[in-house]
Symmetry: C2
Subunit: 412 residues, 2 copies
């Protein structure tokens, strides 16, 4: 089998972790598999480099930041090669430039455009375990761009897709995908399988297990994806097409996200193209928008509310203020102390009543809902940050814990 | 003017050093100069990375070591760009790969073969201060090779030569070239000028101020070289062709080196090509040989003595033992507790008696000479390590201190 593995920052955090990962890699190699392994930077190294940069220049530009940060993954790849050599196996480390991972010029948040296969195939033919620095690409100017925090997952999935690998294994510090964050909901249940769509909604909803672009890409190219722990031998969670389990469940996971902020434009004159105007201004400013709420207008006036990453709040407000004349809103309000609670389930669309069950569970525990947004397989609500844990717990109890016997039977 | 500057590890060791160097760079840029700046890794970072690698694999291979170590210079280049941006000036950092510094495949000790100028010239035309990661090149496989410890000097001189720069300034933690190591000889005198040849002999003799390949290259391409401190405004030492000062002096500097070891092959049969055989074996084993002593043979039998870096002693002995049959020596002896004392001066050749003055000064302080080697402009002697400081001091007194008035008058 051709397998692409990815080891996250906690899986290579120190000598012991590196040697443990090297053991896993060479064990798989010994079974006759061909291996491409994508590495993240060691533990807290990326944060340390960011702090170092900010001390010198709080507004350090993204091109130079990418030049700096990409060294972390390069170091991990080289160190892993040394560890594998120590175990007596052949290995070679490659930077994104050496592999030929072509990316867009959007420094700090670039996208992979193509991956050259010649060097990868050459090293695989030489029977090398190929270690690739994750998180980075080379743009058309030959400069290093990074793909966003957590994007080593995306590097791995993209390589798996391009090489048509049999399997893509994401090794991380959790042993799979749970029905909710086990750090908050202690009785959350580990899922054995989940569909691409559900995983995508969970990733967008604040679950940190997989980088959401990696799931998008896995879905598009039908990459066989497994999430598992590098610390234990536990089975992990398989992310794939059409999963039997979820057909029978209304909700397969709940998630919470408090890294967001709400912005409302009050009293916008309702004319065609206004929404396009507002959100294209944000897109030009490189601000990703999450939830959008725009009720029917009243007397030709309406309010437009949306959420952005908390880190983008100030920039978003600046953009809105600078364009007040062309948008023509009456008032600008915002809140940073909010959280988003999301429930995800492929069976949701065919099961009416799921939304009202969710709202009921929140009402029962006294949590007010600020904003609601739904899709085919998820429902998100915005609540005050102070209620996040309580709301998550109530929703998990309602949909998952109440069916624990069923879940545990199917899952384990 | 087009100026190439180089900042060593101590000159970028922390935030304060980086900002100070950024101040110097932008000051020169403000005067209308075009600048290419070569950076070393921060302070002790390279040593820390080496320790990290050795913990994982004491025999870490040189290709992966280069992949790891080259990140240090890349980080320095990016951090310096951020610091310069902070001061409000334009700058861009480039890796050796982005510049196109082509090097040999000899990992860990590669040589620069060529430097592409298109990206450098493009960025200079864009009015950028161009920051280049030192110490590294790209070989014909597209892999990163490093140029040997201290070789960022060589990167700077090579770029200066290729771009035909007006000046190459090497910023380091000493404020110039002294008549002897000021850490040992406290009354050593700083030279205002020194010739390429003398600097080369001093660099080979153990003076750490400049990487010796950088001096070779500066001499070959007539690069106008200045060594100065990044901490002070002191003038520094100019290294250049035909220097007035040294014509009048017998000796312009003395140096000591205890990082060497002596090996003797006793009782070698004297036949044609024997020396070639011995030293080509060492060259194949990638062992640089320093002094070589081979007296006239006696009854067709002779002894061959040479010195190598202490780090290469064991490997050299292994090579000699493995080839005992083909060399045919009777005995192999060695000593690691030795030191080399060297005096350098362009006026030496035309001043007979310099050698005997040196031997006299050593005799006077009771130091026995194990081995002597001379060239046009230098004399090296091998002494027991225990006598190194005493010998250096005696020689410095004899040639420099005795003429202090003359030196100080000419130099300051």
């Amino acid at each position: 089998m051709l397998i692409v593995q990815k080891y996250g920052g906690t899986s290579v955090a120190n000598d012991e972790c590196i040697m443990r990962a090297a053991g896993r890699i060479t064990e798989s190699f010994s079974k006759g598999n061909k291996l491409v392994v994508v590495l993240s930077a060691q533990g807290v190294l990326t944060d340390a480099l960011i702090r170092k940069a900010r001390r010198l220049n709080p507004n350090a530009g993204p091109r130079e930041m990418d030049m700096l940060l990409s060294t972390g993954e390069q170091q991990s790849a080289a160190l892993m090669a040394m560890a594998i050599h120590k175990l007596g196996f052949p290995a070679i480390s490659l930077t994104a430039g050496q592999v030929g991972i072509q990316a867009s010029t959007n420094y700090g948040n670039a996208r992979i455009k193509n991956i050259a296969t010649s060097r990868l195939n050459l090293e695989l033919e030489r029977n090398n375990i190929v270690l690739v620095a994750g998180f980075q690409g080379i743009n058309r100017y030959g400069d290093i761009t990074t793909l966003g925090r957590g994007a080593s997952d995306t590097t791995a999935v993209a390589i798996a897709a391009k090489l048509n690998a049999d399997l893509c294994e994401i090794y991380t510090d959790v042993d799979g995908v749970y029905t909710a964050d086990p750090n908050i909901i202690t009785n959350a249940i580990k899922l054995r399988e989940i569909s691409y769509e559900e995983m995508l909604e969970l990733a967008s909803a604040g679950t940190q297990v997989l980088h959401n672009r990696s799931v998008e890409m896995a879905k598009r190219y039908r990459v066989n994806l497994v999430v598992r722990s590098s610390m234990t031998a536990a089975e992990g969670t398989t992310v794939k097409e059409g999963v039997r389990l979820v057909e029978k469940l209304h909700v397969s996971g709940v998630a919470a996200d408090d890294k967001i902020a709400r912005i409302s434009l009050v009293g916008v004159t309702d004319k065609p193209g206004m929404a396009f105007h507002i959100f294209s201004l944000l897109a030009k400013g490189n601000v990703p928008v999450d939830l959008i709420l725009q009720p029917v207008s009243y007397n030709g006036i309406k309010d437009v509310t949306f959420t952005v990453n908390k880190a983008d709040l100030q920039r978003s407000l600046d953009i809105m203020r600078a364009n007040q004349p062309s948008i023509g809103y009456r008032d600008l309000t915002w809140a940073a102390d909010v959280a988003k609670i999301t429930i995800v389930g492929a069976g949701m669309a065919s099961n009416p009543g799921v939304a009202s069950m969710m709202f009921e569970s929140l009402y029962d525990c006294g949590v007010n809902i600020n904003m609601i947004s739904t899709s085919e397989i998820k429902i998100s609500v915005l609540v005050d940050r102070v209620h996040m844990e309580k709301a998550l717990s109530a929703v998990h109890d309602k949909f998952i814990e109440s069916q624990r016997d069923f879940f545990v039977k199917v899952v384990e």
